[in-house]
């Protein structure tokens, strides 16, 4: 019984094939080639567009030491307030949204994808996961408790500035001095100079030994000269902000500079 059924199916298939062949042969060859050409061209276009989309990143990373105020800044950007306060983050905060200050603007605004990466040293490896999509990095520094943490901050900054993806793609970096509303906060120029000095010392003492397996793939600056941020391949700017009082205009400027509205 089965064999008969299979035999019947075979005959039916063959008939269909013959009919299809006749149909195709009936179409003038020009139309056929044109149709195939259109299909191939569309596929090609789609691939190219996908490639382009992947290259343009729209992510801004917020990093810095633990306690510098990244989570507060994240919520200020998103909601305009930091609600009831924050504690040490254990996981990254991600969000794609329109900046809170721009919600009143009319028209279509491109949302920004912002990632707040935890600053605790044990969670450093998380930064690498997001670096590939970054269009800009904001390194948040606590301007009040700056000097006790200057070594740790400079080491972290050095690690970021010498990562391969940052150097090759020339990702711009904003050095954001947070908590400037406090009276004892240092000025941004002081912070910039101190960090340059510390990184200079790090250049001298850093060999292949760095943290457990993060390796410095590039060296910074020019040999024989003191290090300044202008020597970096990627653009480094300095700005001030205050998370608690919502004074984040310079940060928003940086974001909009690299993620067009």
């Amino acid at each position: 019984m089965d064999k008969e059924k299979i035999g019947e199916l075979k005959i039916q298939l063959q008939q269909l094939l013959n009919e299809a062949q006749e149909f195709v042969q009936r179409i003038p060859p020009l139309q056929l080639y044109a149709a195939i050409g259109v299909v191939v061209f569309t596929i090609f276009l789609l691939l190219v567009i996908r490639l382009f989309k992947r290259r343009s990143a729209n992510t801004i990373l917020l990093t810095g030491l633990s306690g510098s105020g990244k989570t507060v800044l994240f919520y200020q950007l998103r909601d305009g307030s930091f609600h009831q306060g924050t504690v040490t983050s254990m996981e990254p905060n991600e969000g794609t949204f329109i900046l809170n200050s721009e919600t009143s603007k009319k028209g279509k605004i491109n949302p920004v994808h912002i990632v707040d990466v935890p600053g605790h040293s044990r969670l450093r490896p998380k930064l690498d996961e997001f670096l590939s999509q970054a269009a800009g990095i904001v390194f948040v520094v606590d301007a009040v408790e700056f000097l006790p943490n200057v070594r740790a901050a400079s080491e972290y900054l050095y690690d970021i500035l010498t990562k391969a993806s940052v150097v090759k793609k020339k990702i711009p970096l904003l050095l954001l001095c947070n908590k400037v509303d406090k009276v004892t906060a240092h000025t941004k120029d002081f912070i910039r100079r101190q960090l340059e000095k510390e990184i200079d010392k790090l250049r001298a003492s850093r060999t292949a030994l760095s943290s457990a397996d993060v390796t410095n793939e590039y060296t910074l600056g020019l040999p024989g000269e003191a290090f300044v941020f202008s020597q970096c391949h990627n653009k480094v700017t300095v700005a001030e902000a205050s998370g608690l009082t919502s004074d984040i205009s310079q940060l928003e400027q940086f974001i909009r500079e690299y993620v067009k509205a």
Binding site: F82, G85, T88, D116, S121, R122, R151, L202, S210, S211
Partner: protein, 623 residues
């Protein structure tokens, strides 16, 4: 009375705090909890103690893994609140009902909270009353358990652990005795001499007598204190003996030549030395400076071995797990996680991870996965594996910078020598690795000086002298039988005089139970306040690593006369070339002490010094 109750997301935003309990918390207990407990993979512990000037709190927490929420309750340590666990789980249930990722203020939760709190308090009152009746029965039970424990475990210190754990409403015995913290916080000095070497049986057995039957534990405390006293007396006697042996005169059997001729080292080596030293200096680059190439095809390997182990287990289990993985099970329960975790724990133990550490790690991973929703097309075992891998990377990533060269330069600028003290038990390789570190530092143009503070073992000073001659660096020695603390002090003074940047201090090996020797060591560290206290441990050690490190840290903390004692800052793992892939000792040591592994010794020549490669260790551990 609760001091505070917080609900916050894992990303750090506080969602709700109880506004009624408006007392501001002294210090920053929540941040410390996160940094020293939850991020250290100790989230399986029952509670956490926090000490700040003016207040001492106990914190309890629970997670809601699916929504990434953390619920923390803070209360004064002297109060033994019984209803906290209950309250936390009820709050978790209620809050998850009203939680919405977009919302950031939950004021309506206040009323619900008040209600729940009243319920929980009422329930606790009832339980207390019923417990009072059952207390005498409980006492006997607890005592019997304690005795069985004491009998089977040797060492007075272990007896103490039986007494100290299970105290005070289930304080995390796992989190006690961890006197190493950032800054000046002393988190666990509730009483002196608490031993954190917890055997898991402890926690489980005493769990029954957790709530209220603390007088049983007091009895055990008294008993163990008596035992401790006899131990110290016993220990003093053997210390006398070695001293005697050294001062004993050599026996003269007949008219043989005097002993002075027994020392053949100096004249012969004088001529051979120069050649040797030139050769030594050219042994090549220390492996510290060489990069390790990490192969990135680990993912496929892990998947395949996972599949194999699945097939080995029952066929039914495989089929149902495949079905579940496609369907995506609702919520992970502890019972689902158990088989996968057990397999992981056994796997870790075959890789020479200490049993307690493996247990604690599995508990912590379970706490972070419970209640989570399985994504479709993932097996439970692969989720557990991924969570464990993340936890291992987190533990092995150093908490602070391990860039010694940077520290050396900083000390140089201040004009002081950078002092490193090598401590450890007998025979782990302190002197050998000291020489390796000296060789590496020399290659980076640092002036090194050795200090021979091992004044006990015969040949120790000569050993260092030989190394110093080969490396052509100065050595400070005072021979044998001198007080090591004084020798170290003079060595540091000599170093600042002759312009050495680094002083490497070699100490005698000592067992962690040997009280007088540990006292001498803590005196050495107190008197000289070194920049780096390096614990040298061998990678061959198994469960003893936990005991060694915890006792070293504890003794250094307790026996030091200063209020802010120095503890172990770093670990040097030796004999790494002998262990093949049983690399678990690294994990045990880092977990129990919190100190990063700064160097790894992998051979006996000068260049065999590496840095720890976290990714490859994790890969090896989970294979």
């Amino acid at each position: 009375m609760l001091e505070q109750l917080l609900i916050f997301t894992r990303g750090g935003l506080i969602l709700w705090t109880c506004k009624e309990l408006g007392n501001a918390l002294r210090g920053s207990p929540i941040d410390t909890l996160i940094r020293s407990c939850l991020l250290e993979e100790r989230s399986g512990a029952a509670s956490y103690n926090y000490d700040a000037p003016g207040a001492s709190y106990t914190l309890k927490w629970t997670f809601h893994n699916e929504l990434s929420l953390v619920f923390v309750a803070v209360y004064q340590r002297i109060l033994h609140l019984l209803y906290v666990d209950d309250l936390l789980s009820m709050i978790k249930q209620e809050f998850s009902a009203i939680y919405d990722p977009k919302r950031t203020s939950y004021d309506d939760f206040d009323d619900i909270f008040q209600q729940l709190k009243k319920e929980a308090e009422a329930r606790a009152e009832e339980m207390k009353k019923s417990k009072q009746l059952g207390k005498p029965v409980n006492n006997n039970l607890g005592r019997k358990q304690g005795q069985v424990q004491n009998g089977s475990v040797d060492g007075g210190s272990k007896k103490k652990s039986g007494g100290e754990s299970g105290n005070d409403g289930g304080d995390g015995d796992k989190s006690r005795g961890r006197p190493l913290e950032n800054g000046n916080l002393r988190n666990n000095h509730v009483g002196k001499g608490e031993v954190p070497a917890m055997v898991n049986a402890n926690g489980k057995e005493n769990g029954a007598s957790k709530t209220g039957a603390f007088d049983v534990n007091k009895l055990q405390k008294l008993r163990s204190k008596a035992a401790k006293k006899t131990e110290t007396v016993v220990n003093k006697v053997p210390k006398g003996e070695p001293n005697k042996k050294i001062t004993k005169k050599n026996r003269v059997w007949d008219d043989s030549p005097k002993e002075s001729k027994l020392d053949f080292t100096d004249p012969v080596s004088e001529n051979g030395e120069q050649n040797i030293s030139v050769v030594a200096a050219d042994e090549g680059e220390s492996m510290m400076d060489k990069e390790e190439i990490i192969s990135s095809d680990s993912e496929s390997e892990e998947e395949e071995t996972g599949k194999d182990s699945n097939v080995d287990s029952k066929k039914k289990g495989w089929f149902s797990s495949m079905f579940q993985s496609i369907a995506g099970k609702a919520n992970l329960q502890k019972s689902d996680l158990e088989p996968a975790l057990k397999a992981l724990k056994d796997g870790l133990m075959t890789k020479n991870v200490a049993e307690e550490i493996a247990e604690k790690l599995c508990e912590s991973v379970a706490a972070s996965l419970e209640g989570k929703r399985l994504a479709s097309f993932t097996r439970i075992s692969s989720t557990v594996q991924a969570a464990m891998e993340e936890a291992l990377v987190r533990i092995l990533t150093p908490r602070r910078s391990i860039d010694i060269l940077r520290d050396v330069h900083a000390a140089k600028e201040q004009g002081k020598p950078y002092v490193v003290v090598f401590v450890g038990v007998n025979g782990v390789g302190k002197s050998t690795n000291l020489a390796k570190v000296a060789y590496w530092l020399l290659q980076h143009n640092v002036n090194v000086m050795m200090a021979a503070c091992d004044t006990f073992r015969s040949g120790a000073v000569e050993q260092l002298r030989t190394h110093a001659r080969r490396l052509q660096i100065p050595i400070f020695e005072k021979g044998y039988e001198k007080d090591p603390a004084i020798v170290a002090k003079e060595a540091i003074q000599e170093a600042s005089r002759n312009g050495s940047d680094v002083v490497l201090v070699d100490t005698a090996g000592r067992m962690q139970d040997n009280e007088p020797l540990m006292r001498a060591l803590s005196k050495l560290i107190y008197v000289n306040s070194p920049d780096l206290v390096l614990f040298v441990g061998e990678a061959l050690v198994g469960n003893d690593a936990v005991d060694q490190l915890s006792k070293f840290n504890q003794k250094l903390g307790d026996l030091s006369p200063s209020p802010d004692p120095r503890l172990i800052d770093g670990i040097l793992l030796t004999k790494f070339d002998t262990i093949d892939d049983k690399v678990g000792a690294a994990l045990s040591m880092v977990y129990i002490s919190g100190a990063p592994v700064m160097f790894v010794g992998c051979g006996q020549s000068y260049t065999d010094l590496k840095k720890l490669n976290v990714k490859s260790i994790v890969k090896t551990l989970l294979k």
